[in-house]
Amino acid sequence: MAILTLTIDGEQLSANDDETLLEIARQHDIAIPTLCHLEGLSDVGSCRLCLVEIEGSQKLFPACTTRAQEGMVVRTKTERLQRNRRMIIELLASEGNHQCAVCVVNNHCELQNLAYEVGLTHTRYPYLYPKKRLDASHPDFIIDRNRCVLCTRCVRVCHEVEGAHVWDIAQRGIHCEIISDMDQPWGTSPSCTSCGKCVLVCPTGALIAKGENVAEMEKKTDFLKYIVTARVKREWINTDGEE
């Protein structure tokens, strides 16, 4: 592991060469919006919200999957990036049913918070109003694909943390959807352990617990850090949050 120096938003920082730009930025309180990223899961760079500019390249790079290099000059808040981020949220909004007023996670939703963050006043793209499948066959949980943003956190937490790999993605492009096992009703899935991790890590109201009403459900993802720390460091974080 080597120490290197780079610049983010005009600030000279030192970092380890195995760290991503997102990790480094967050260590120094430089805010970069994310949606598919979740501490404790692998990064896939799919939501594109964390795209940053790197001097010397016309291309934009996802901060969550780009490693720091010596002398890198990174910008995270240019007008072009802010415009792109707002566009991404608008595209997500227009692609599904993201009507907050009738959502179980209203006021506790990462997509809703991102919309505030990018200053979304309205969606300039025509709404598609697709009719995606809702599956309430599981005794405790529901998946409403109309509210899914395809971040794949559920796929990753089920595969990487629970080890069950119930969830995956089927189809391509705009037809992509999350499926359970061999695209069968969730309630009939032989691999699902009903642990509920997918529900907790879902950033929107796509995966929800039964019996919750509008704006009633608040998701907590901090359970991940206990499991991941125990696995990686062979240590248990005590309940005060001290390692």
Binding site: Q99, A101, N106, Q112, Y116, G119, T121, H122, Y127, Y129
Partner: protein, 178 residues
Amino acid sequence: MKPRVATVWLGGCSGCHMSFLDMDERLIELAGRMDLVYSPIADVKEFPRDVDVTLVEGAVTNDENEEMAHIIRRNSRFVVSFGDCAVSGNVTALRNGFDKEDVLRRAYVELADVDPQIPRDHPTIAELMAKARPLHEIIPVDAFLHGCPPTADQIWFAVSELLEGRMPAFSPVYLRYG
């Protein structure tokens, strides 16, 4: 002359107008600062000309709403999408995943207690559009007031700013969906 203000109720539940009335005694102050020239709470039949600010509640969900939207735009200097249905379609647009005829059958035949029939073929009955649309997909809109419904404080802020001739710069406190 005081600014001329209109409020219109398209495809919505009137909750945004209820929230407007929730401004309580501030309404008395508003009455001194503006003329309400058209509104569901004022008995005016035709949308007037030369309106300064129009608040539009609801999505555009039938042909009457659509015609009204164009009348509003032609006659208003400043049009505000008033509440989530006007901004994004919201609850009114939840039917959009279904076929229009299925929606009508469900509402007027399957769920009817007496005399099941779909009301249509009469000049006073508006024809449902295939999809409910947010207002800005039909006409250009100048400002967006979120919420289901927007709170009385939000409405007070927006209307006060507009009456002073300022474009309301919504702070994050007033940017809230749902």
